[in-house]
Amino acid sequence: MTPPEPGRLPPAGQPLDDADFGVLDDIRELFEAVDPMPADLPERIRFSLALRDLEIEVARLAEENQLTVAARGKEQARTITFDSDSLTIMIRIDANQDGTVRVDGWLAPPQRRQVEMKTTADPLTAASDAQGRFAFARVPRGTAQVIVHPAEPASGDTRSVVTPALII
């Protein structure tokens, strides 16, 4: 193999040419094959962006755990914690006999808020109590998102706290 003449190689400081774009296209093709974005991800993202209210505070996924519930044999429960600037939302998801799931939630700091569970069917609503507890007895499986609506207008903050879409 003869080493290429020094002058033949494209110098770093020049604008991109067609051969560069060709190499970049090849790299894209390679990574599309090796590490493709999950095909259903854009759909989940679009689900999480379908919000009536644009004044939102984003709650990030902070922790997720699988729990084995001994009393129910193989049944698994999941706990998920989301953090935003003003609020921590923790939910626990348990399977119901009828194929739906039960979702128990806690808000910290504890407070009364309207909580919405957006699903691929109709949205469900619940209210948290003074201890910050709320519950949805039957939630259809699939994509879901928790939206904690603004507190009383008098409290000043008019933003909803919104979690990412999750698969339950």
């Binding site: 193999m1 033949r8 190689l9 560069d20 190499v23 790299i27 990574f31 993202i45 644009l54």
Partner: protein, 201 residues
Amino acid sequence: MDDSQPVTVRANKPGRAARMADLLSAARAGSEDALGQIVNELSPLLWQVARSAGLSQGDAEDVLQTVWMRLITHLDGIHDAGALTGWLVTTTKRESWRVRAAGRKQLPADQDVFAELPEKGPGSEEQVILEDQRRELWAAIGMLSRRCQELLRIMAFAPRSDYATVAAALGMRVGSIGPTRGRCLAKLRALLADGPERSLA
């Protein structure tokens, strides 16, 4: 933001940049459909940004969701398609670092994506040649520094009209004539020119 009407955008010349500009103004006016089209268009780029930062698949999915939700609260301040791509790339990098720093489910070093190219079954002769070229490219990229691998991987997914802003978001120097080939691409092309049979035409 309950506008469910499909958005009509200019389909052809001057092409993608104009289409993205139209989608951005429609999204800023509250069109869910326009925002959804932007999500479809730019998520593959952001996926590579998150993954090249070393996140697991699950963490990368979480980061992308967070970034797009945060965009909603920033849309008012973003006035052109280039700035949109730049904001998304920068925010994805920051969110990825944040997740890495939190130490959640980090990708062990031996699960590096460069470990092995997936094996494909035997195919037509054309397929075999394609596979050889792909392997050569893979091997050449693997010889670059981590920083170069990351830059090229992300730039390869950047829309051409947004090269300058993506390059700037990645900390590359952008000259007055726009983004230059840069050290990484020059090195890769030198490696490929040294390789057994690849033509750079």
